[in-house]
């Protein structure tokens, strides 16, 4: 039969608290993963957009250059060449500068994401540590309470055992004399013959006279 002992109750409490801690850790871990994934996707999206925008600007710059070159038909070929070269240099410079900006923004974004993830990880670590301490504290308190209660139960059980012993002792003493009497009467009554009885009577008389001096009493 299943018996609810103090040790079993204590162990059940430990298991429940440990299960709750595992569940809490799991929830935090999934939250962390989710947050990280979200940041990563945002970062990728932003990079993509920036790349596209950079391409658009570069394409636009090139278009402008071609237009300028086309509109400057009246100028000499040399001037055209110089102008084209200058404009190209400028365009390259702008594109280079823009790609620097894009790279810088990308770096900043990575750093920011990293920082955010790091902050999140630190925050999570802190929360996990706090939870650990809280759970540990609860387990200690529970252990102390259980130990005290188990000690008290043991003491109560000892007292009950002593009380039961005393009751059994009293009951035995009350009945054992009657039992012995009964057994003696039943056994000797059936076992003693006429001769045995006569012998016992004469022997009792003789010893009584020797010990007590029957002639003084009778």
């Amino acid at each position: 039969m299943f018996e609810l002992t103090p040790v079993l109750i204590y162990e059940t409490f430990i298991i429940v608290i440990a299960t709750a801690a595992i569940v809490a850790f799991s929830i935090f871990y999934f939250r962390l993963l989710k947050g990280y994934n979200k940041l990563r996707l945002d970062h990728e999206k932003l990079e993509k957009e920036l790349d596209e925008y950079g391409n658009v600007i570069a394409a636009s710059s090139k278009e402008h250059i071609q237009k300028l070159v086309a509109h400057s038909q009246e100028l000499s070929d040399e001037l055209k060449t110089q102008l084209a070269s200058l404009l190209e240099q400028q365009a390259q410079k702008e594109a280079g500068a823009y790609s620097d900006v894009v790279a810088k923004i990308g770096k900043e974004l990575s750093a920011e994401s990293k920082e955010q993830v790091q902050e999140f990880a630190i925050s999570l670590q802190k929360e996990v540590k706090e939870t650990e301490e809280e759970v540990s504290g609860k387990i200690s308190a529970l252990y102390d309470t259980t130990a005290t209660e188990v000690g008290k139960m043991h003491e109560d059980a000892q007292k009950e055992i002593e009380a039961m012993k005393a009751a059994v002792r009293t009951e035995l003493e009350k009945h054992i004399y009657e039992i012995v009497q009964d057994v003696v009467k039943q056994s000797t009554g059936k076992l003693l013959s006429q001769e045995d009885h006569e012998g016992i009577v004469l022997e009792a008389l003789q010893s009584s006279m020797q010990v007590h001096g029957l002639n003084q009493n009778v």
């Binding site: 003696v184 009554g189 008389l205 002639n215």
Partner: protein
Amino acid sequence: MDSLTDHIHTISDRVLCLQAIDAYEKKLFSPDFTVPESEYASLIEAFISDKKEKEVAIKDLRTTLMTMPVLRLTLAFTPTKEFIAQLATTLRNTAAKRNTVVEITTDPSIVAGLQLSDSGKLIDLSLEKKVGQVDIGSVVKKYFHFV
């Protein structure tokens, strides 16, 4: 007279003897009267045959019988006549009280042995008393260590 009283052990014996004495006394006054035969008839006849004053002798005999001390005995069994005689003789010899008669009661509850009662004093020599003198508590503790 001792030879007569030696044959009287119990109260019943005494009653029978007194009845025989009454019969003999009656015969003194009625010679035609026939004394019933009994164990004590011959003893009484032998006692009074050599007495000059038979009436006085009978009277003395009767008085002696009536004043015989009574010892009340309780036994756990029904004794035989022979045992009663043996018991009475033992009591008379050892108790230094001659001419005592015993009144026997049977009580199986005393288990074995006997109880003597004389003038209100009780001497319990029964097995029931011996069992009662045993320290049952110490016996119990010897076998039941948990108490």
